[in-house]
Symmetry: C2
Subunit: 547 residues, 2 copies
């Protein structure tokens, strides 16, 4: 017996068509380079995305070929999100914060043939394009400057495209539509190639009440860059449900962001903690200047926020939702949601829980595997977090030797479809809340026991005069490794190391306490805002412990 259901593939053109027919006038608002706001509806956006698709085909792009984007978050980037896969191409979002050498490597490795680049980013593009196989550069103008000679202007490029031509329809929903390289604090960056199916399913998940509860009435502002894991899938999910989109362009200062939130009625937004620290500071510095939309959901991801940040966001009338995900998990895989039995918990207790623990969203499976196999869900037993879902990577693009990031296949379906080994150390409590304790390589192993650098950092950042902190493991002749705390004081503040040590002693076992405190100007970060502990370890490579 066979089922009688349609073999209806889950492909991105369905999301675009739905938005352009049901939500033709629903706005997409973009802040351009000159700070002006560009506005149009899904109808116009879709028409231009279709033009782009046809223009790319006419320019010779073949199905499966890669088109790079080097752009901020704005409407043209959104058109590329649909126009490139709509031509059968694979969109390769290039991280504009990377060094030219890294961009040259990534664009070559992915095999990009065309590049669409913001005019304001041309100086960066010029530093790597010639070292790649990119044959054509199309320039999106978001400033007042004319397009330099020798480059094709995006507007004239898509003018040749016929919006009446049908979009590319993959027969197989596993066909790739975009690729993103991991920021890779170690080793070469590796490419994760997303399929139409994975992005559509993840978009549905974000539309679920137990995902982001994203719907047509929302106004969604991804501050997280569109070159980073498809902006956590904000663009595809928003289009699928017809939400208004607010795209901040290159202006990521807190004042510009707050102007958009208040002015455009943003109901859901997402960014890394660094952005939210700045936003909270700006709000506190000028109380009353911005009227934030009440109940605005603030997705905090990309790095672990200290408890004080969630409390500050909560006290400002927003609803902070901390999530966890990776490039390999199409972003959001666990989300901070209140379970029914927590309904009468005081808010403070909920926020404390959410700082460290989140629930897997529907269709995401998690487990923790330690030295002795799968760890019990007891909130204590630590091991590597492993994950499975329809939107989790089963491999990297053209990266032989990386197979050890997946477990042996125990689903029986073959092809490396086991569990993805996240490299994060975690535990799961009895209610199913996952706590990421640390990156495997960030744990401190002292005398054979693990110390969580993240727990120490959060406690140090609880000190009112501390702006940021990073705890790193340094080699120790007796204990193997011992923790060093690198602390950034707030501007003008003076911190006493003994005072810090006393705070930590009240909270942690004695052998967890950092053996030394270094006061530094800033914590080094990767291009995506993640703390770069390798840089700190290098700085203190010659460290000698006293005593």
């Amino acid at each position: 017996m066979r089922s009688t259901m349609m073999r209806y593939p889950l492909v991105l053109p369905r999301a675009l068509e739905r938005a352009e027919t049901l939500y033709a006038d629903r706005e997409i608002v973009s802040r351009l380079g000159d700070r002006s706001l560009h506005r149009y509806g899904y109808g116009a956006m879709a028409g231009r995305a279709r033009r782009l698709a046809d223009a790319l085909r006419k320019a010779g792009l073949k199905p499966g070929e890669r088109v790079g984007t080097l752009m901020w978050n704005h409407h043209i980037h959104l058109e590329a999100y649909f126009g490139i896969p709509g031509a059968g191409g694979v969109m390769h979002t290039l991280n504009l914060r990377l060094q030219p050498d890294e961009l040259a490597f990534i664009a070559s490795h992915a095999g990009d043939r065309v590049l669409i680049v913001d005019d304001v980013l041309l100086p960066l593009a010029r530093q790597f394009v010639e070292r790649t196989g990119i044959e054509k550069v199309v320039v999106a103008r978001i400033s007042d400057e004319p397009t330099p000679d020798g480059y094709e202007d995006y507007e004239s490029f898509i003018a040749d495209g016929d919006p009446a031509q049908p979009l590319f329809e993959p027969e197989d929903e596993f066909t790739p539509s975009s690729i993103c390289y991991t920021s890779g604090t170690t080793g070469r960056p590796k490419g994760v190639a997303y399929s139409h199916r994975a992005l559509m399913l993840h978009a549905m998940c974000l539309g679920m009440k137990d995902g982001w509860d994203l719907g047509q009435t929302d106004a969604a502002m991804p501050i997280v860059p569109m070159f980073h894991v498809n902006a956590w899938n904000f663009p595809y999910a928003s289009t699928l449900v017809g939400a208004k989109q607010v795209l901040p362009g290159p202006h990521l200062d807190p004042e510009s962001l707050l102007d958009l939130m208040a002015g455009e009625g943003v109901s859901i937004t997402g960014a890394v903690p660094t952005i939210w620290f700045a936003v909270v500071d700006a709000l506190r510095a000028e109380p009353g200047r911005w009227a934030l939309p009440p109940g605005m959901r603030v997705i905090v991801g990309g790095a672990s926020p200290p408890p004080a940040l969630l409390r500050a966001l909560d006290s400002l009338g927003t609803v902070p939702i901390h999530g966890w995900g990776m490039t390999e998990t199409t972003a959001g895989a666990t989300m901070a949601h209140v379970k029914p039995e927590m309904a009468d918990w005081p808010r403070e207790r909920v926020l404390d829980l959410f700082t460290e623990r989140h629930l897997p969203v529907p269709l995401v499976e998690v487990r923790v595997v330690g030295d002795e196999g799968e760890a019990p869900w007891d909130g204590a037993a630590m091991g590597e977090l492993q994950i499975r879902a329809p939107w989790v990577a089963a491999g990297y693009h053209d990266a032989p030797g990386s197979e050890d990031r997946w477990t042996d296949d125990e689903t029986g379906s073959g092809g490396g479809d086991g569990w993805f080994r996240t490299g994060d150390v975690a535990n799961i409590d009895a209610a199913g809340f996952v706590k990421i304790c640390d990156r495997t390589r960030d744990l401190v192993k002292s005398g054979g026991e693990w110390i969580s650098s993240q727990d120490l950092e959060n406690a140090i950042m609880g000190h009112p005069d501390v702006k940021e902190a990073a705890v790193i493991a340094l080699p120790h002749p007796k204990w193997g490794e011992r923790p060093l705390a690198c602390v950034v004081p707030r501007a003008g503040a003076k911190i006493d190391a003994e005072d810090l040590a006393a705070r930590l002693a009240a909270e942690f076992p004695k052998w967890w306490l950092p053996d030394a405190y270094e006061f530094i100007d800033e914590v080094p970060k990767t291009s995506t805002g993640k703390v770069q502990k390798t840089a700190l370890r290098e700085r203190y490579a010659d460290w000698r412990w006293e005593g």
Copy 2:
């Protein structure tokens, strides 16, 4: 280039596993035959579903073979929802309101090998089982009576099953998991075989804000029978998100339902209009007896509700959500949602719109095709509603000759994957709201023009003394067809036909007005509560128009 995403199939065991690990104690509450309430959590439910799966395998069930269920809505039926596909079987939900002849035909046509039946329904089962290929009858006890001799008791049957045995894992998510026959007001009933994929995707859709917004914090009560289109997918969607489930068993009187709503904190429930009429009457008859959970979403489906019903539900503090769907669309395909631009509409205007119009939910495509091809979205041009989605049928099980229910394939994917022709006549307005004007066969074609019997019925039912109404087309020597209004007055009320005619004259063109009014005791209905116009047409087959 290939995508690097997992080939992770969408199959029902994933929903069950999620509920049993994350929501082991979340309650499933069932009203049994003796009115007592049975309670347990997803952990216990899943264990018993696993036992059932293994017991069915031990009893010789092979993958793809059918197991019938003849049961009310309760926990054992829910166990069958997971246990039968968990054995690799296909659950065939039998409609307990059908006649024994129809049940014999359907169970034979589907090829049911095993039947799980409520003890209280054994008298019905005895009337058809011997005429089918059913080899084994397992009796679920929901009354105080012992299981009669000669039948296997469900409890002893599953006691032989080992809950540690893994559930059946289809490699192909298109594998069938359940089958349901259309109630078929014309012709033989036809079977729609749902796939794991279709049910999982539709469950995700119901979890979306723009679907039912179903989540872990909800308490969901399907009053719509579990034998009818998988109770509109309430059971699978609720399990996927870990919602509390409240199952009313055989007690569908309004008092019993209201006791459950108030007592169990039901936040979302669904039933046909007939049920809601009775519930509204009961609430009005005894104001203050029940404290309904504030904001309870009331899904109204299966038939078109008159405006007065939605207004009554709204005024009682619930949120009525009228939806439309069919057996062939895995139920809910369009849903009454407020679009952003309607945010400041008065509630009255919204309810008026929702009475007739609804938006397609995410991933559902609609179009209206008239004699001259696809009709414009202008809110006027009528034609047949056609639909596509991952959870829409592409055919019927073993029903040669039914291919004309699908259009030619224009997706290029072959295999009859065109659009499903619903047989409903509809128009779509510029905002994308679909109005079902009538069943094709219920339209009145007078002098070459269409008259919507449904619009007339709604207007007649707006009369305070009218309980129900059905308008049918009868042959007319001059006009081809003319409308006859069959009207059921409220108890004790006396209605003047001229008064009715005057009301309609204010609202419709003269040629739409019924040529005669018949006052009848009740409107004949099918087993699923749908108005059976064929029966009325037969009753008036000898009708002669006056003058």
